[in-house]
């Protein structure tokens, strides 16, 4: 085991949480519910950015984003708990690093949209096609979140160090 994982797993918080046998399955259940909220809210907005469902104003399609963010928050918290409980499963895992990479990509993509393109959202009415820049942001987001899901679920099976 790598020194960092060995250190973290020996800490009191890590051992205490591992001893609560119900905690891991509970966090998994929350993690999968969060997944549904995140894919639903973000995916819906991404589809509109890609130019689907044009009768929905872009600004209106964004109304579900707080629920996607809530789903992300649930998964960030439960994901952090998984990591603290069993870092050796993640630190040497190529799948986990790929997952983290795509979370960062999705995050930067969303920040770019909010800071650079966001103000143009409100100017776009119903029945209007989205500009290419919106389509790229929507495509990158949709791909990234499904990549996060893919590498998360494949985590026990690919690129594991043990």
């Amino acid at each position: 085991m790598d020194p960092f994982s060995a250190w973290l797993e020996a800490t009191r918080i890590s051992t205490t949480m591992r001893n609560m046998t119900w905690l891991w399955p509970t966090c998994e259940s929350i993690h999968f519910i969060g997944l549904g909220l995140l894919i639903g809210g973000a995916g819906y907005f991404d589809l509109r950015l890609l130019g689907f469902m044009r009768r929905v104003p872009v600004g209106a399609a964004k109304a579900f984003m707080p629920w996607a963010i809530a789903g992300f928050a649930m998964n960030f918290v439960t994901g952090t708990l998984f990591f603290v409980m069993a870092p050796h499963m993640y630190v040497p895992s190529a799948a986990w690093w790929a997952k983290v990479f795509f979370i960062v990509v999705a995050g930067l993509n969303a920040m770019f949209f909010e800071t650079t393109l966001g103000t143009r959202v409100m100017l776009l009415g119903p029945n209007e096609d989205t500009p290419m820049s919106f389509k790229i942001v929507g495509g990158v987001s949709l791909f990234s979140w499904f990549a996060v899901l893919f590498f998360g679920r494949m985590l026990p099976y690919i690129g594991t160090g043990n």
């Binding site: 399955p25 639903g40 399609a61 579900f64 629920w67």
Partner: protein
């Protein structure tokens, strides 16, 4: 007993041996991952429909909510196929697992609720259907039933 024998035949088939025995990530891991992709699509679409009916995103025309149902069914089809594959590989064990039967029941309820919501939306009446408390009950019920199905599915790995 004939049922049990049949389930064992499924579980002992060459296909099952490949699903659970193969070292390939294209066997069990990929089927499992497709099942999670389908979960995201099914629950994602249902959540948007439910939230819209509960008043989130009032700017989304109700007519446009109908476009989410084909997405829902695509996800459902992915999970029906991947779910049957996962089930067959462990048929005899899963068929008697209470939490699996609970999951199947919740999915059946979830689909029935979704079909009823769809019927309401396609039945016309425009925004006035939102005033009906039955619609809100269906939407809240849908959210809880899908969350329950997810939890039951997850617990299949932990409960005998």
């Amino acid at each position: 007993m004939r049922m049990a024998a049949w389930l064992h035949t499924l579980q002992n088939s060459a296909f099952s041996a490949w699903v659970v025995g193969s070292d390939s990530i294209w066997a069990y891991p990929m089927i499992l991952t497709m099942h999670t992709v389908g979960l995201g699509i099914v629950v994602g679409a249902a959540v948007i429909v439910d939230l819209r009916l509960l008043g989130v995103g009032p700017g989304v025309p109700l007519d446009e909510v109908k476009r989410l149902f084909p997405i829902f069914w695509v996800g459902f089809f992915i999970n029906l196929v991947s779910g049957v594959m996962l089930f067959v590989s462990e048929a005899a064990d899963k068929a008697t697992q209470p939490v699996f039967l609970l999951k199947l029941s919740l999915i059946a309820i979830g689909v029935a609720v979704t079909v009823r919501i769809r019927r309401r939306l396609f039945g016309g009446g425009g925004a006035s259907i939102l005033a009906a408390s039955a619609v809100r009950t269906l939407a809240i019920g849908s959210l809880f039933v899908w969350a329950g199905a997810i939890v039951a599915g997850r617990l299949m790995a932990y409960l005998k």
